[in-house]
Every structure is written in C-alpha cells, then in structure tokens.
Symmetry: C2
Subunit: 139 residues, 2 copies
DNA sequence: AAGACGTTTACGTTGCGTAACCGTCC
DNA sequence: AGGACGGTTACGCAACGTAAACGTCT
C-alpha cells in the first residue's frame, strides 16, 4: 500500500472538488465527457486519485485562464499526450544515436588493437609497410 | 510571379469568405484574434492567400465539427505547429542515426582494407598471423 | 451613384458552470 | 434522521456568429 502512489484512488467527490477548487457537479460533468475517469468505490461513489486532482486543476487552467471550452480541452489533452510520447521517442533516438557513435569509435579502436595483436613478427623477419620499408614492426 | 505559390495573397475578403464558406465578419474577427494574418492591399483591404483559406477551413473544422471555441483553436494550432517541428526533428534524428550506422560500417571496412593494403610481403618472406602460420598473404 | 471595402455596435443561439430538486444508502 | 452520495433539470452568463448601421473610396 503505497501512500505516495499518485494514482491511488483516495478522495470522494466532495474532497476532490475541494482540492481542485471546483463544483462537485462540474466534476460529474467532466466525467461524463471523459475528461477524468475516477475509480468507483464498492458503493458506486467516485474515488479520485491525486493524479485526477492534478488533471482537474490543469483543466481548470485551460478553461478559466486560457478560456478553452471542453471540446478544446479534450483536443489539447490528446495532443499533449501525443507530444509527450514524441518527446520520449525523441530522447530514445538521441540516446541511440549517441550510443551508436560511441560504439563506432569503440569498434574502430578494437579493430586497430586486433590487427596490432595479430602482427607478431618472427625474429629476424620484417614486415613491409607500403610507402616505406624499415626494419621494425609498427607497433 | 508564381501562380502556384500558396502563400501568394490573391483574394479579397468577399472571395476568401466564399471559398472558406464563412461570413466575412467572421474572417475579420479571426484576424483580430490572430488566427489568420491576411496581407493588405495598398488600399488597406485584406488579401487572403490560398494557405490562409486552407487555414480557415481547418479552423472551421475545429469549431463546427469538433466544437472548439476560438481559444481552443489558438492553442491547438500552436500545439500542432510544435508537433510538426518535433516531427521534423524526429525525422532528422532518424536520418542522422541511419547515416551514422552506415558511416560506421563504411569506416570499419575502410580500416580493414587499409590494413590489408599495408601488408605487402616481400618475396620469400612470410607474415605471421597469430593462431596460424601460412605462406601467402591473405589478400 | 453603386458597390466593395472598412469599423463599431447590437442581437440570438449555444455551451458551460451552478443551483435546485429528488432519490438512495449508510 | 441526517448527511453524503447519485442523477436530472433549470437558470444565468459569456462567447461566438451574424446582422445592422454607417463611413470611405473608386
């Protein structure tokens, strides 16, 4: 039982409406329009989580301060959800890119090292390097 | 003078309102709210581009079909603009990632080739490769 | 002078928040 | 029985689209 889980349904409508500073009827309206989805108690009374309350406050911001109507709120919430997933995807790609570049340099170094390991000159012999010929190996 | 430039201001308000199937006053209202920004003729009459008209039709879709109010339309247009730029960024990153991976394999191949080029045995001599020793070069 | 443009103001409809009313269950 | 929940209906206000009124320019 995690008391810090913001998704845990805790408040009935009177408490939630007070926390969100809204009329209880407004909360019921929002639910019918699908803007919030409070859980239900055994006796069918609504139970709002902290997350629900925060969502309500955000909706209030959109309606009161920015003047959106509910249709607009719905659309905006949808879009912001999409944007959030895009942001995640973007971060994922960015990390992947960084990873790929690190990997590339590591791979290159590994190949160099591997070639140098494989070139073991026998005593008295010589390895010729194109463009110049010297006695010792280039280790 | 590009007739196909959708940004070219062409229509005065009567024509634009007809194309967008809206009341001329509505177009003026939208301009005051910053939803469309038609250019002006020398005599201060509004000139709408094809792009403006399309934007108007989109706004109409948002208001009439989805029921948004103008505040909502503003916000949605903003968000969709942001999403568009995110989409571009995402494509850019994806391309960059692909490019980086291609580049890495190319680089690896190049290093292999370079090492093989450098190993030219003198006649009668031998290059020792760790784990097996044979006569000829592995070209 | 007619017709298109401009602006400002007024009006009707609609959406939304709130309240009122009523029923049900601890 | 009172107080919280649930639902439905009613009302007031504000937003938005449209129209009206009026001026200017060609």
């Amino acid at each position: 039982v995690d008391i810090n889980d913001r998704r845990k349904p805790l408040f009935m409508i009177s408490v939630a409406s007070e926390l969100a500073d809204m009329h209880p009827q407004t909360l019921r309206m929002y639910e019918r329009r699908g803007l919030v989805r409070p859980k239900r108690s055994l006796k069918q009374s609504r139970l709002y989580s902290m997350e629900d309350v925060e969502r309500l406050r955000y909706i209030q911001q959109l309606t009161n301060e920015l003047g959106l109507n509910l249709a607009g709120v719905e659309r905006v919430l949808e879009l912001e959800e999409q944007m959030e997933s895009m942001r995640r995807e973007l971060g994922r790609l960015q990390a992947q890119l960084e990873e790929a570049m690190m990997d590339a340099t590591r791979q290159v170094e590994e190949i160099h090292r591997s070639y140098r390991r494989e070139l073991i000159p026998l005593p008295g012999r010589e390895i010729v390097i194109r463009g110049r010929r010297g006695p010792g190996p280039r280790c």
